[in-house]
């Protein structure tokens, strides 16, 4: 197993290299000019050219790429073209809120979605099952920003239970910290609860017809034990896969949620950097997201061996 993990980790190096090259090329082919955001609306072409020269954007693309690669090898993501601060520092500033929102969403999703899926499978064909599946369709269909605005309207403006927006670091106390995460967590997790509840239900129903379930029932094992010990564990592999995919999808989900709830996380940083054509920031963030995708996939593969001892690498 350790050799497998080491092999997979080593394989990330060429993957990240390819990602770096592709991202760099795509960004340079995209129209737009970071010098223009610096200079403002009244800048003349001559002023823009001087600023481009100062930013090093007048150099040939291959020279710019090699300079950036050199920085990467030294563990330096460079400076933001717009605000002139280290990209690493910007990411460090923004990762806390995104991590908090992501973790909160994953924990909430798993706690709610898996029991919902189990109950729906257990009560297959009943009103409970239909209600869970109806919620699932609703969860898929309503965009995150609509859920977000509705939650703000009812719980922040109407009842005044939660703040409308913002983020407080944990150092300011747990409640001020988590109070601001509750509505974003609810908004962001709706779609994942719907997705994972549905997959859990389907996966459990798939294994319910297996011989070992029939054998357990024939032995007089209690139905709850049949579900929890035999069915759920054997359905865990597809559930783990979808949870892993969900975690990766969170990266795109947080972009909207962070904007609606004004959370200064990585999602907002991506949007700001793309709109400003802040190349080093976009490049740094895409590399980070790629690394997260790779590591989540690795973690899911390892989890398979926990849930299904027959799987060996």
């Amino acid at each position: 197993m350790l050799a497998y993990i080491a092999r997979r980790l080593l394989a990330t190096v060429p993957v990240m290299g390819m990602v770096a090259a592709i991202v760099f090329a795509i960004l340079r082919l995209t129209p737009g000019d970071p010098a223009a955001i610096i200079a403002g609306d009244a800048a003349t072409p001559a002023q823009l050219e001087l600023i481009r020269r100062h930013m090093g954007l007048d150099q040939p693309i291959h020279v710019q790429f090699l300079l950036w690669l050199g920085q990467l090898v030294r563990g330096d993501l460079g400076l933001s073209l717009i605000s002139n601060v280290p990209v690493m520092g910007m990411i460090a500033d923004r990762i806390g809120p995104s991590l908090a929102l992501g973790l909160s969403t994953i924990v909430f999703t798993v706690i709610i979605a898996i029991p919902l899926g189990v109950i729906a499978a257990w009560r297959r064909g009943t009103l409970v099952d239909r209600a869970v599946m109806a919620f699932s369709v609703f969860g898929f269909s309503v965009p995150v920003f609509v859920t977000g605005y509705l939650l703000i309207f009812f719980f922040a403006i109407g009842l005044g239970w939660f703040p409308v927006q913002g983020y407080k670091p944990l150092a300011g106390g747990f409640w001020p910290f988590y109070q601001r995460l509750i509505l974003p967590t609810l908004a962001l997790s709706t779609i994942y609860v719907a997705l994972i509840a549905r997959i859990t239900r389907t996966s459990i129903l798939d294994v319910m017809d297996e011989d070992y379930i029939r054998t357990a029932r024939a032995k007089g094992v209690k139905e709850s034990t049949v579900f929890m010990r035999h069915a759920l564990r054997n359905a865990a592999v597809p559930i783990a896969t979808i949870v892993g995919i969900g975690m990766a999808m969170l990266i795109s989900g947080v972009v909207v949620t962070e904007s609606v709830f004004n959370i200064p996380g990585l999602g907002r940083l991506v949007v700001e950097a793309v709109l400003a054509r802040d190349y080093p920031v976009i490049q740094g963030l895409i590399l980070l997201f790629s690394l997260i995708y790779i590591l989540i996939n690795l973690a899911v593969d390892i989890l398979y061996t926990v849930f299904d001892p027959r799987i060996r690498y």
Partner: protein, 533 residues
């Protein structure tokens, strides 16, 4: 049972991991003093107010820097850092004397040499400053508090340039900072203004924090525009960036923020009439919305075809789509804005109403061959997103072939700088907005620049306009200036150098707990009190 036990152990481990990860998020939180929390029209990312004309950076400049001269609410030039100025009898030497007690945020006194370096850097970047520098023979310090500007010929442009509140404002910086090349961003943010910038709390695009400068000595006159006493009544001002307008309004209603610089027009009903909220247009002159042709390529390298396009578009249609509520817009054919000293209606009949018949006649006369008009359309900025759509519909109606190309604003600003033909990544027409204060005379208005490839985007070459501008710079006689500005307007419209599409006003909103918010082209935070203090 095994599975349950295993599950409980896993849950416990998960909780421990979760708690550990949350602990990693520990960050320091600043304490709150008497603070105004404001949401500005965009996030602050660039900190050099001379390298860029972006309004958010100008606003930042006014927080931490001071200016030699200011402009009061009536538009009159007033001394600010200057105690006084004197003009020699021949009108060629201006002597400025600084007020006593002016200090940089890090302690040393402000000196004449700081002003000289700052003015030189400003003049390299600013359009009016560039004109001024062609007329300057020498700038020299007389002593620590006095300096002189010696001109080759008499002009009052020097006072206008150093006092204008927008476009670039002539912020005074320490000499060592002002000696940074004007195309390189400064790296030290020390001013002598009423607020100090809290560098440690600056998060680009998220938050900028300003603390009251306790050593600032305000003038004794009441605050008015960028002039008068800049008395600060709060301890801190925090600019928080909110990317979502709806969230900003909800936060204002919930009392989480005190002030928002712009309220999007469609969200006004949420705040208008609320007893805790004041909705007010602070920038009384408003904005000009306009478009410019590319004079380098067909079809708009033909004057008759430019005029046909101008006759095709009706201002009222553009403004209805852009603003909707007539309380916040008015049609205006004045190139230098309505309600300004140089307002004129010369040529307005070509740009305010539409005359499709005349437009079609001109197209026929010009033998328009159906060459497509590439219109640039930025979809992500609400205050300009509708203009290209309305213009396109109007042009098509009179017989133009139009290729409306949608993109984000940043693509547009990159694209409009391209002098390539429209089919190879260039363009024929784009629209944008200007603060009236930035276009209210022929020298400060980039929109009327007509010096070919050195001009603002569109690159018209009309020597008569540039000559009239220099004549304008050389006279101090208001009647003559008015006449020259009107002549410029006539030529600008006749030649299709730029096309005004009307004027609109953007409301601000703030909690009723704030008082003393000044009317001005720039949102100032001095003079503002927060009740409960």
């Amino acid at each position: 049972m095994d599975l349950w036990s295993h599950s409980k152990r896993s849950s416990a481990r998960g909780l421990v991991v979760f708690a550990a990860l949350l602990a990693v998020l520990l960050m320091s939180a600043p304490g709150r003093a008497e603070t105004i929390t404001a949401v500005m029209h965009s996030g602050l990312r660039v900190l050099d107010p001379i390298i860029t004309t972006a309004h958010i950076v100008r606003n930042h400049g006014y927080m931490i820097y001071d200016t030699l001269l200011g402009t009061d609410a009536e538009g009159k030039i007033q001394p600010q850092m200057a105690e006084k100025w004197a003009v020699s009898p021949d009108g060629k030497t201006y002597t400025f004397t600084l007020r006593s007690g002016l200090k940089w945020h890090d302690g040393p006194p402000v000196k004449a040499e700081d002003c000289i370096a700052s003015i030189k850097r400003f003049c390299e970047q600013d359009k009016m400053g560039q004109v001024l520098m062609t007329m300057v023979a020498d700038v020299k310090a007389v002593n620590d508090r006095t300096f002189q500007v010696i001109l080759k010929e008499p002009t009052e442009v020097i006072l206008t340039a150093l006092s204008k509140p927008s476009g670039l404002a002539a912020f005074i910086m320490p000499k060592r900072v002002a000696e940074t090349p004007s195309t390189t961003p400064i790296k030290e943010y020390i001013g002598s203004g009423p607020f100090k910038f809290v560098t440690a709390e600056f998060k680009p695009g998220i938050k900028a924090v300003y603390e009251k400068n306790k050593d600032y000595v305000p003038r004794s006159e009441p605050a008015s525009g960028s002039a008068g006493g800049k008395v600060v009544h709060v301890d801190r001002v925090e600019w928080v960036t909110m990317p979502d307008h709806m969230t900003t309004i909800n936060a204002l209603l919930a009392g989480e923020i005190d002030y928002t610089e712009w309220v999007q027009f469609d969200l006004l009903p949420m705040v208008e009439g609320k007893k805790d909220i004041q909705v007010r247009v602070i920038e009384k002159q408003g904005f000009q919305t306009m478009y410019r042709f590319n004079h380098l390529y067909p079809p708009f390298n033909n004057k008759l075809i430019r005029q046909a396009a101008m006759y095709a578009v009706r201002q009222e249609d553009v403004l209805k789509a852009l603003v909707g509520n007539p309380k916040y817009y008015k049609t205006c054919g004045a190139v230098f804005g309505c309600g300004t000293p140089f307002e004129s209606s010369a040529g307005a009949d070509m740009v305010v109403p539409s005359n499709p018949e005349k437009a079609m006649e001109l197209l026929k006369q010009a033998k328009y061959d159906g060459t497509p008009v590439v219109v640039l359309h930025a979809t992500d900025v609400s205050t300009i997103a509708s203009n290209p759509v309305v213009i396109t519909a109007a042009l098509r109606k009179v017989g133009f072939t139009v290729d409306l190309q949608s993109m984000d604003w940043m693509t547009l600003v990159g694209r409009r700088a391209s002098m390539e033909p429209p089919a190879k990544g260039g363009w024929n027409l784009f629209s944008t907005n200007w603060l009236i204060n930035e276009i209210m005379d022929p020298l400060r208005a980039a929109t009327v620049s007509a010096n070919g490839k050195r001009a603002w985007f569109g690159w018209p070459e009309v020597k008569q306009i540039e000559d009239l501008k220099m004549k304008f710079a050389r006279t101090s006689n208001p009647a003559e200036q008015k006449k020259l500005a009107e002549e410029v307007q006539k030529v600008v419209i006749e030649e299709g150098v730029m096309v005004p599409l009307g004027q609109f006003y953007v409301p601000s909103a703030y909690r009723s707990s704030l008082t003393g918010v000044l009317d001005s082209p720039v949102p100032y935070f001095w003079n503002v009190k927060k009740s409960g203090k």
